[in-house]
């Protein structure tokens, strides 16, 4: 992989997440315009990101196991009593 490409690919994620400073952002955009393979990588990454972001909410979630909330609340309560005693 060419050095220019390596640099662009290493910044794809913050580029797509709009987390790059303007100057670097422009640099990556220029490279993508000029380089089909990197543009392709960017399109794939964007695609994976979009699907996950828009679909994750529909994925089924496991309900909490019975009793877990009670046990964790008990852990909190023990900690609270310990804190009161040591005051």
């Amino acid at each position: 992989m060419k050095e220019k490409c390596r640099q662009a690919v290493s910044r794809l994620t913050p580029f797509l997440d709009e987390a790059l400073p303007a100057e670097e952002r422009a640099e990556v955009a220029r490279h993508l315009d000029a380089c089909p393979p990197c543009r392709q990588s960017a399109a794939k990454e964007e695609g994976g990101k979009t699907v996950l972001r828009e679909r994750a909410a529909h994925l089924p979630t496991e309900p909490l196991p019975p009793g877990l909330r009670t046990r964790c609340a008990a852990i909190a309560e023990r900690a609270r009593r310990r804190a009161l005693r040591s005051r």
């Binding site: 997440d17 392709q40 699907v51 994750a56 994925l59 909490l64 964790c72 852990i75």
Partner: protein, 206 residues
């Protein structure tokens, strides 16, 4: 969606510790979901969550009020998980090895290059997405999930996973691309990489 537990009586009895406990308990669902994603077993996930709460309350004075409690708890959970695995696992796949990186960076076949993400989005079934996620190497799955679903900052994810920010970004990048490849069909590259990686690590540790 998230039920808050009833607060104690206000006044002198209510402390910062009560607020900490209340908020920590509202985060039980996402913590359990994360534990399940990591352990892939209900009993182990439950164990991991309880361990996380024990540690969180033991060290609660280290939490800086006003900062992100969810990120803080996630960090404890991930640290606890890593320590456990360090104790037990010898089948760990080195996801940052050159081989996996190279495999994940390869451009896909030309047939899927022009697949518009909108088509992908329309045609992807929830079950397909779940299967594609399950097939990702664990480190990629977790990085991508923390970023795109939980929307943590790179720095927060770096803290949770105990790796540099650059590694976080490259895992997110590759995870997203592998997900795309797996969903756009054909090469099944997510599983291909997973198999390749474990083969390599077996050879490496032999």
């Amino acid at each position: 969606m998230i039920r808050r537990l009833p607060r104690g009586p206000s006044g002198p009895v209510t402390t910062g510790a009560d607020a900490f406990a209340d908020e920590a308990l509202t985060l039980l669902e996402p913590l359990y979901a994360t534990a399940l994603r990591l352990t892939r077993h209900r009993a182990d996930a439950e164990d991991l969550v309880q361990d996380t709460y024990v540690k969180a309350f033991r060290f609660s004075e280290r939490f800086v009020p006003g900062t992100n409690l969810k990120a803080w708890l996630y960090t404890i959970l991930h640290n606890t998980w890593r320590n456990r695995r360090r104790d037990t696992a010898r089948d760990t796949v080195d996801v940052d090895s050159e081989v996996v990186e190279a495999a994940a960076s390869q451009p896909g076949g030309p047939e899927e290059l022009d697949t518009p993400e909108r088509i992908l989005l329309r045609e992807t079934l929830d079950a397909d997405l779940q299967a594609a996620l399950d097939a990702l190497p664990a480190a990629y799955r977790e990085a991508v999930w923390l970023r795109d679903v939980e929307e943590f900052a790179y720095a927060e994810i770096a803290e949770m996973l105990g790796v540099p920010m650059g590694t976080v970004m490259s895992r997110i990048s590759r995870g997203r691309r592998l997900l795309f490849d797996a969903l756009s069909g054909g090469m099944d590259s997510a599983t291909g990489v997973a198999h390749h990686a474990s083969r390599v690590s077996e050879v490496g540790s032999a």
